[in-house]
């Protein structure tokens, strides 16, 4: 046994003393150090390799366990659904402001054929024609006996039809599930909803895309899977809409009009509570667009939004309101109304001769064209343009239906002083009834701009102030007087303080210049209750004529006003407005 000295250097010194070569000892020391180092590295490596081994074993076990779990679970997706990208068919419902369904989806089936699997094509064709009389037998036989591999028979079939087809017992006839759009209220609010059609179609599903109205405007939104089926809530009220459409249809018939429209709008929020255009259609079975005749005569035409008309004397209130706003006149200022007013070769007349002069209030109440034109002259071209622009008469309305873009107001190509004078009483500028409702809402709510909307709002949405509250109030007082002592005397609805302005405009001829003598657009733009208006209602009748008297009466006072009054009488309670009676009027209580 050789003892290893504690200090290596001692050995070297020792060796030197003995005269030996110290290098051998140096090497020996180095070797020992090296070996020690390797040994320690090895022990460390042994431990770490063991760690690695265990880690690998665990990891492989986890993979194995996971495989086992997956194998033990059932495949969650059926194979059929994994083939190809599926067509997203879910479309959100549309509901009214109280959550009642306006548009929803229904499960139905499509019918298609695989002619190559057919056993008796001719018998099948014959049987199919009995179920679907609109199909042609020869054509079906041709389709079924040819080389085609796939034939659509019907895109939508009812459960009864499905059963009948089933009973034919033909293996080559197949059904595909379909989701179809259903409008349970039929023609109600047809122009708002528009309609849908099938887009991309497959055997297992078909895309439903909006073709018109709100369905088209909000198509992306309605189809957005992120909505998760949450319905789109509209500002429309189903019961009010129903009442409006009924009264309007009755009024249209009574007044022998060829078309009619009504817009009911909340003056503070801009919510359109009801909007109707007659004649209408059933969005469940939307007719094809007309190929001949004027598109504006088609039931598809939305008169309230797309139809731009000269709206007549309803415009007068804007002229007087602006003049009062500018401080040019007040309600009692006397204006020269001696007629006719000559301007170049043009003459402006009144319906009756109103004498030498009238107060501003009387001009509105009596509806004097001459007086309004004189006030417009005081305002001037630029200020009038500016004001009408702020009221929204220069742009299409922003209502959430595709047709709104088409309702672009018609403005005079060059806005002369004569234009200013005629526009002051509503001739020379065409706008839609919705434009008019939007502008009247500004007077009704105390002077704020309002944007009409079809989507339910949570509170007032005022835009820019364009009129002082006192001007608006003065204008409202005049509008109330139009009903109490003026042209709209049929517009009084007990307890609801209706205020408004009539407008009767001769219809321009479609070809050539000039106006028809016996065709008018009669409009009544109203608000109620006049002292604190909640709603504006615009009723427009196209070519009305009231024939109860000895000669046909066409003015708005005789046609549009009674219809509007009937409407207000029916819808005001539905809207939750209490009738207000004056204190001194006797209250009769009946006990049974």
């Amino acid at each position: 046994m050789i003892r290893t000295p504690l200090r290596p250097l001692a050995r070297i010194l020792d060796a030197r003393k003995k005269g030996e070569n110290p290098d051998a000892i140096e090497r020996e020391n180095l070797r020992i150090r090296h070996e020690q180092m390797r040994d320690s590295a090895r022990t460390r490596a042994e431990g770490r390799l063991l760690v690695l081994g265990v880690m690998f074993f665990c990891a492989f076990s986890v993979v194995g366990a996971r495989m086992g779990m997956l194998s033990a679970s059932e495949p969650s997706e059926p194979r059929a659904q994994t083939q190809g990208a599926s067509i997203v068919a879910a479309r959100s419902d549309i509901v009214d402001r109280k959550g009642r369904i306006l548009a929803t989806n229904m499960e139905t089936h499509s019918l298609y054929a695989h002619p190559q699997q057919m056993i008796e094509p001719e018998r099948t064709a014959k049987a199919l024609v009995q179920i679907f009389p609109e199909l042609e037998e020869e054509r079906l036989i041709k389709d079924f006996s040819g080389n085609r591999k796939f034939v659509w028979v019907r895109k939508k079939i009812s459960p009864e039809q499905k059963q009948a087809v089933h009973d034919i017992g033909e293996p080559g006839l197949l059904f595909g599930p379909r989701e179809m759009r259903l409008y349970p209220n039929g023609a109600l609010a047809a122009h708002v909803l528009g309609g849908t059609r099938f887009g991309q179609e497959g055997v297992h599903s078909a895309e439903v895309v909006g073709t018109a109205g709100l369905e088209r405007f909000l198509d992306d939104d309605l189809r957005d899977p992120a909505r998760e089926g949450r319905p789109v809530q509209l500002s429309l009220d189903l019961t009010v809409q129903s009442a409006v459409e009924r009264v309007l249809a009755g009024g249209m018939m009574l007044m022998n009009a060829k078309g009619a429209t009504a817009v009911l709008m909340d003056v503070h929020t801009g919510e359109v509570v009801s909007i109707a255009s007659l004649p209408d259609f059933d969005p469940n079975d939307r007719p094809a667009p007309p190929v001949e005749g004027s598109p504006s005569d088609s039931p598809l035409f939305n008169r309230a939004v797309q139809g731009v008309y000269e709206l007549g004397s309803t415009f007068k209130i804007f002229t007087t309101a602006q003049a009062m706003e500018l401080g040019l006149v007040n309600a009692e200022t006397m204006i020269d109304t001696k007629g006719p007013l000559r301007w170049g070769k043009h003459k402006i007349r009144d319906f009756h001769d109103y004498g030498k002069e009238l107060s501003v209030t009387k001009i509105i109440v009596k509806s004097s064209n001459i007086g309004t034109a004189r006030i417009a002259q005081m305002i001037g071209v630029d200020r009038q343009k500016d004001f009408l622009g702020k009221l929204g008469f220069f742009e299409p309305t922003k209502l959430e239906i595709t047709e709104a873009k088409g309702g672009k107001p018609l403005l005079p190509p060059n806005w002369s002083e004569l234009s200013t004078m005629t526009i002051s009483y509503g001739h020379g500028l065409s706008a839609s009834p919705l434009h008019l409702a939007q502008a009247y809402a500004t007077i009704a709510n105390g002077g704020y701009q309002v944007t009409p909307t079809l989507l339910k709002q949570s509170g007032p949405r005022y835009g820019e102030r364009i009129m002082r509250p006192d001007t608006a109030a003065a204008a409202r007082t005049m509008l109330r007087k139009v009903v109490t002592e003026g042209t709209a005397s049929f517009g009084e609805v007990p307890g609801y303080y209706v205020g408004g302005k009539t407008g009767t405009a001769d219809k321009p001829k479609e070809r050539g210049g000039g106006y028809y003598k016996d065709k008018v657009i009669a409009t009544f733009a109203s608000m109620f209750p006049a002292h604190d208006p909640k709603y504006v209602l615009v009723v427009t009748l196209d070519e009305p004529s009231e024939n109860s008297g000895d000669k046909p009466r066409r003015t708005a006072g005789w046609t549009a006003v009674p219809v509007a009054a009937e409407m207000i009488g029916r819808i005001a309670p539905l809207l939750g407005l209490r009738p207000e009676y004056e204190q001194n009027s006797p209250v009769v209580m009946t006990s049974n």
């Binding site: 180095l30 090895r42 194998s71 033990a72 679970s73 997706e77």
Partner: protein, 388 residues
């Protein structure tokens, strides 16, 4: 007397190669690898006909090719495993130089086969992926450097090998081939770990990997999409992963039956990256567990054998090879079962692919060469012990 009459019997002073090889080689690992190769052929019969059909070949075109490449791979495996560690190291260093040059010239001369990453050389009859050959040879070179650094007065081999790793990773990321880059990084990390990495450094590196991953996620569309697909809890059934999961579920414990599987028709990579899904669908969990057990046996057994190894180079190189092999298999299977984000990585010896097979044969051959039983200086220990 006899010797005097007939002369001495000629005796070689070294043992004959084959008997020595058989005596010292790890027959368990060898058996596992041969079984894996057999399973690969079996699955190739199932998984590659759809591909052959798509490309307009005879249904078993790819199986034949797999057999040819497999034969070559086995020859390479046996030859390599018979070499001495020193010879392996020398050849591997030469091979590494060649593969590295090939990798560098990929952007100029390579092709992407329309897959969006330039990783291959097209040789007409076959394509070669240099990174497949780079991986095992890189392990040898890095192990060599690290082992050298453990000598007294040796070079700073750990630093060198790290720089080399980064260079290779850079080239691979440029292709882009994040999978191989990760494997190379992982191989180096494992070797460094066994070579005695300080614990603090290991933790810091884990952090670096996380940061690197984040940067890659933000800057590479390719990478980000895969991670998003992984993090998304519900599987889109029309993605590769969706099909794979479905196939595993369809297969259940015993599979839907040979040739009855459907997933191979829908998955473009059924014969390579998702071959485990084909196995699961047609042969069920049973075969999958066998495959996993085979890989686990190879890796764990090799690591345990390496624990006894005293030569630092052999220990490190063996560790690197075994771990890379195991991790590649694990990532491939982990992706199919959604334990890991989708990453194209072949299943060694089972997936179809010429370069992958031959490179795998060489790598495993080297591993076998390193895990052979050899004297570990036990006698020296005894002597030293007696001396003390």
């Amino acid at each position: 007397m006899t010797e005097m009459v007939y002369g001495t019997v000629p005796v070689r002073d070294v043992e004959p190669i084959l008997p020595k090889w058989w005596r010292t080689v790890d027959t368990w690992t060898l058996t596992c690898i041969l079984i894996l190769f057999g399973i690969g052929m079996l699955l190739g019969l199932a998984a590659s006909p759809p591909l052959a059909e798509r490309n307009g070949f005879d249904p078993f075109h790819y199986v034949q090719r797999q057999a040819i490449f497999g034969g070559a791979a086995l020859v390479a495996l046996f030859l390599t495993s018979m070499m001495s560690p020193t010879l392996v190291r020398r050849l591997a260093v030469i091979g590494f130089a060649g593969a590295f040059v090939a990798l560098m010239f990929l952007p100029v001369l390579g092709t992407d086969f329309g897959k969006g990453a330039v990783r291959w050389y097209s040789l007409g009859f076959a394509s070669v992926q240099p990174s497949e050959f780079l991986k095992p040879t890189f392990v040898i070179v890095a192990a060599w450097m690290m082992a050298a650094s453990q000598e007294i007065g040796g070079p700073p081999g750990k630093l060198w090998s790290f720089m080399l790793t980064m260079l290779i990773v850079g080239f691979l990321v440029m292709q882009p081939d994040f999978g191989q880059a990760c494997l190379v990084l992982f191989g180096w990390g494992v070797m460094y770990f066994v070579a005695g990495a300080p614990m603090i450094l290991l933790i810091a590196m884990a952090g670096l990997v996380v940061i690197g991953g984040t940067v890659a996620y933000q800057n590479s569309e390719h990478f980000a999409r895969r991670i998003d697909g992984f993090l998304n809890p519900d599987i889109d059934p029309t993605t590769q992963l969706g099909y794979a999961t479905n196939a595993i579920q369809e297969g259940g414990f015993f599979g839907v039956g040979v040739g009855e599987g459907q997933v191979k028709w829908s998955l473009p990579d059924a014969h390579t990256d998702f071959i485990i899904a084909v196995a699961a669908e047609e042969y069920g969990l049973v075969l999958v567990l066998v495959i996993i057990a085979l890989y686990a046996t190879i890796v764990v057994r090799s690591l345990i054998r390496l624990m006894r190894e005293r030569d630092p180079f052999i220990r490190l190189a063996g560790t690197g090879l075994a771990c890379m092999f195991g991790v590649q298999a694990m990532i491939n299977m982990g992706v199919a079962v959604r334990l890991l984000p989708a990453k194209g990585m072949t299943l060694p010896f089972v997936s179809y692919g010429g370069s992958s097979l031959i490179a795998g044969g060489i790598a495993v051959g080297m591993l076998l060469a390193f895990t052979r039983t050899r004297p570990q200086g036990e006698i020296g220990d005894i002597l030293r012990g007696r001396m003390r």
